[in-house]
C-alpha cells in the first residue's frame, strides 16, 4: 500500500496518456538526480585537483588527474604546521561538544517540564544569541579572552562557540524531551529514584537520539566556523581552517595543497553524518515534526 504513495508528486493526473504518465513517474528521479549531481560536481572538482601536481593544474583543464600524485597529502601529513591544525580543530570541537551538552541537558529538561519565572524570555534571549552575527563578537571576544589569559588556547574557541551552540543544543534537546511522556518522571519519583539518578540512568537513555543529534549539530557548527576560530588563535591553537587561508607562497597559489587540505576537512563531517544518518531528518527538524 505504501508503495502506491511512495512518490506522491509522481501521481499521474487523471486520464493522462500513458506516455506523459511514464514521464511524470520519471520526473522526481530526474530532479533528485540533477540536484545530487549539482551537489557532487564541485566536490569532485576539489578531490580531482587534490591529486594533481601544481604543474598539471596550471597547464590546463583535465577532467581527472593524468598523473595522480599523493604528494599534496604527503606534505600535509608530514608537515607539523599542517597536521597540527587538524588536531587543534578537533580539540576545540570536542571541548565545545562536551561543554555545550553537559550544561544544555539539565536546562532543556527544565524548559520541557516546568514553567518558571521568566522562562519564555529566557528562552528567547538564549535563541537571540544564535542570531548574533559572529562578526559582531569577533573584537570583544579577542579582548575578553586576552584579558583572562585564554587567548590562543582551544578553550577560547570552545567557549566562544558556546554562544551559538548552547542555545541550539537547548532548543534541539527541548524538542526531543517534550516527546517523552511526563508520566515516566512521575513513576520514577514514586519508585524512589533521586532526581540525578533518574536523570542519568532513566531519562538520558530515553532521549539518546536527541543527544546524538545535538552533539552532531555542536560538532557541525563548531567545525565549520572560521571567523571566531581565526580571531582567537595565532600559533599554538591555530585551527586547520585558519591554516588554509595562508597557502599563498612566493610561487603563487598552491592550489593542489589547498585542495588536499580541503578534502581532508570534509572527511570527519562525512563520517559523523554516516553515524547519525537514521536520525538526521528528524534532527534537522530539531525534534519538532
Amino acid at each position: 500500500m505504501s508503495t502506491t504513495v511512495a512518490a506522491p508528486a509522481a501521481l499521474p493526473a487523471a486520464q493522462a496518456p500513458a506516455r506523459t504518465g511514464a514521464l511524470r513517474a520519471m520526473a522526481p528521479r530526474l530532479v533528485l538526480g540533477l540536484y545530487v549531481l549539482f551537489l557532487l560536481v564541485p566536490i569532485y572538482w576539489l578531490v580531482n585537483m587534490s591529486f594533481k601536481t601544481n604543474l598539471e593544474i596550471a597547464s590546463g583543464m583535465t577532467l581527472w588527474p593524468q598523473q595522480p600524485t599523493m604528494e599534496n597529502y604527503r606534505r600535509i601529513f608530514t608537515d607539523r604546521s599542517w597536521y597540527s591544525g587538524y588536531i587543534n580543530s578537533l580539540k576545540f570541537v570536542g571541548l565545545n561538544m562536551a561543554i555545550s551538552l553537559s550544561v544544555a541537558l539539565p536546562a532543556a529538561y527544565a524548559f520541557s517540564r516546568y514553567r518558571f519565572l521568566g522562562d519564555k524570555h529566557l528562552f528567547f534571549w538564549l535563541l537571540s544569541n544564535r542570531m548574533a552575527p559572529p562578526a559582531v563578537f569577533a573584537l570583544p571576544f579577542f579582548q575578553l579572552y586576552s584579558a583572562v589569559g585564554l587567548f590562543d588556547t582551544p578553550w577560547a574557541v570552545a567557549l566562544a562557540h558556546c554562544v551559538f551552540n548552547i542555545p541550539l543544543a537547548v532548543w534541539i534537546l527541548e524538542g526531543f524531551m517534550s516527546g517523552v511522556p511526563r508520566e515516566i518522571d512521575e513513576m520514577a519519583a514514586i519508585d524512589g529514584w533521586s532526581f540525578p539518578a533518574f536523570f542519568v540512568r532513566v531519562f538520558m537513555p530515553l532521549v539518546a537520539g536527541g543527544i546524538g543529534v545535538a552533539a552532531f549539530f555542536c560538532f557541525m557548527f563548531s567545525w565549520v566556523e572560521l571567523l571566531l576560530a581565526r580571531t582567537l588563535t595565532t600559533v599554538d591553537a591555530k585551527p586547520i581552517v585558519a591554516t588554509m587561508t595562508r597557502t599563498v607562497s612566493a610561487a603563487g597559489m598552491d592550489w593542489g595543497l589547498l585542495a588536499a587540505a580541503g578534502v581532508l576537512t570534509i572527511i570527519p563531517g562525512a563520517i559523523v553524518i554516516w553515524f547519525v544518518r537514521n536520525h538526521i531528518a528528524r534532527g534537522f527538524a530539531l525534534g519538532r515534526v
Binding site: 487523471a14 514553567r115 562578526a135 565549520v224 571567523l227 588554509m244 589547498l258 576537512t265 570534509i266
Partner: protein, 295 residues
C-alpha cells in the same frame, strides 16, 4: 496538559545562563560601551553620546552611505537565497524516496555540503568558478559566456548566490523531508479515494503539514544568510569593488581592519537589532497564524 509551575527549575538552567552570560553578555556590553565613546588612542575614551548612531543612520555621511549600501546588498542576498532555496528545497524533498537503500544514501549526500567548513566551501567555489582551472568557469567560457567573478559584478553575485544555494538548500530539503515523513499514509489514501491530483495533495496535505518545519527553515536561512561572512569573503573578498561587500564583511573591515571601534560597535548593534526584529516579527506572525488555525 499544562506544565507545573516550579521556580526551582531555575537551578537547572543556571549553568547555561552563567556560561552564555559570560560568552555573550560581556562582549555585548563591551560593544555597547564602545558605541557611545570615542578615543584618541592610548586607551583614553570619552563620552560621545549617540553621535556614532546618528552618523551611521544618516545615508549622506560616509559611514551611513556605506552602511546602507551594505544593508541593501545583504537584504537582496538574503531575499534571493530564500526565493531560490525554499521552493527548490520543497521540490527536492518531494522527490526523495520514502524507503529502501536510497534513503540513507540520499540523506548522507544531501547533508555533505552542510558539514564542510565555510572557508572550504568558499575555496571549492573559488576554484570551481575560475576560468583557467575551474570546471564551471572554463565551461561557461567555452559556451561563449564572458564569465569572470573577479571582475564582473553580476558574475560575482551569481557565483555567491549559486554557492549559497549549493551549500544550504539541503538544510531546507532535510527539514521538509522530516515534515513529509510525519504525514500518516492514511492522508494519502483518503486523497486517492477523493481522486486528488498531485497538486491538490501538495496544497491540501503536504504544504500545511510542512508549516512548522518551513518556519524553522525560513528563520534559519534568513539569519544565516544575513550573517554570511566567510564564504563570499573567500570567493570574492567583497569585490569586485564593493559589489559583494555584505554587512558582516564591512563590519569586520571597520572593526579589525581599521580598528574604528566606535563606528564598528554602533554598526554591530544596529545590525544585530535588525536580525532580532525581523526574526521576532516573522516568528510572532507565523505562530499566531498557527494558533488561529488550531482553533
Amino acid at each position: 496538559m499544562a506544565k507545573p509551575h516550579n521556580d526551582r527549575a531555575w537551578f537547572l538552567v543556571l549553568p547555561v545562563v552563567a556560561l552564555v552570560a559570560f560568552s555573550a553578555l560581556i562582549p555585548v556590553m563591551t560593544v555597547v560601551n564602545y558605541s557611545v565613546q570615542d578615543t584618541f588612542g592610548n586607551n583614553q575614551f570619552f563620552w560621545n553620546g549617540t553621535a556614532w548612531f546618528q552618523e551611521l543612520l544618516d545615508p549622506s555621511t560616509d559611514l551611513g552611505g556605506r552602511f546602507f549600501d551594505a544593508l541593501w546588498r545583504t537584504l537582496l542576498f538574503s531575499g534571493l537565497c530564500l526565493l531560490i532555496e525554499i521552493p527548490l528545497g520543497i521540490a527536492v524533498a518531494l522527490t526523495l524516496p520514502r524507503q529502501g537503500w536510497g534513503v540513507a544514501v540520499s540523506l548522507v549526500v544531501l547533508a555533505l555540503p552542510l558539514l564542510i567548513p565555510w572557508n572550504v566551501v568558499g575555496t571549492i567555489w573559488q576554484v570551481f568558478g575560475r576560468g583557467d582551472i575551474g570546471l564551471l568557469g572554463a565551461g561557461l567560457q567555452a559556451l561563449g559566456i564572458n564569465y569572470n567573478y573577479a571582475q564582473n559584478a553580476f558574475d560575482a553575485w551569481a557565483t555567491v548566490v549559486a554557492m549559497d544555494v549549493w551549500h544550504w538548500t539541503s538544510l531546507v530539503v532535510l527539514l521538509c523531508y522530516a515534515g513529509l515523513r510525519a504525514i500518516p499514509d492514511a492522508y494519502y489514501q483518503a486523497a486517492k479515494i477523493d481522486g486528488a491530483g498531485a497538486w491538490a495533495i501538495f496544497r491540501a496535505i503536504q504544504l500545511p503539514k510542512m508549516q512548522r518545519v518551513l518556519t524553522i527553515a525560513v528563520l534559519l536561512r534568513f539569519m544565516d544568510s544575513f550573517m554570511i561572512y566567510t564564504e563570499p569573503f573567500v570567493v570574492t573578498g567583497g569585490g569586485p569593488g564593493n559589489a559583494t561587500t555584505f554587512l558582516s564583511i564591512d563590519l569586520v573591515k571597520i572593526a579589525l581592519g581599521q580598528f574604528d571601534l566606535g563606528k564598528a560597535a554602533a554598526m554591530s548593534i544596529v545590525y544585530n537589532l535588525i536580525i532580532l526584529t525581523v526574526c521576532w516579527i516573522f516568528f510572532a506572525t507565523t505562530t499566531r497564524g498557527q494558533s488561529e488555525a488550531a482553533q
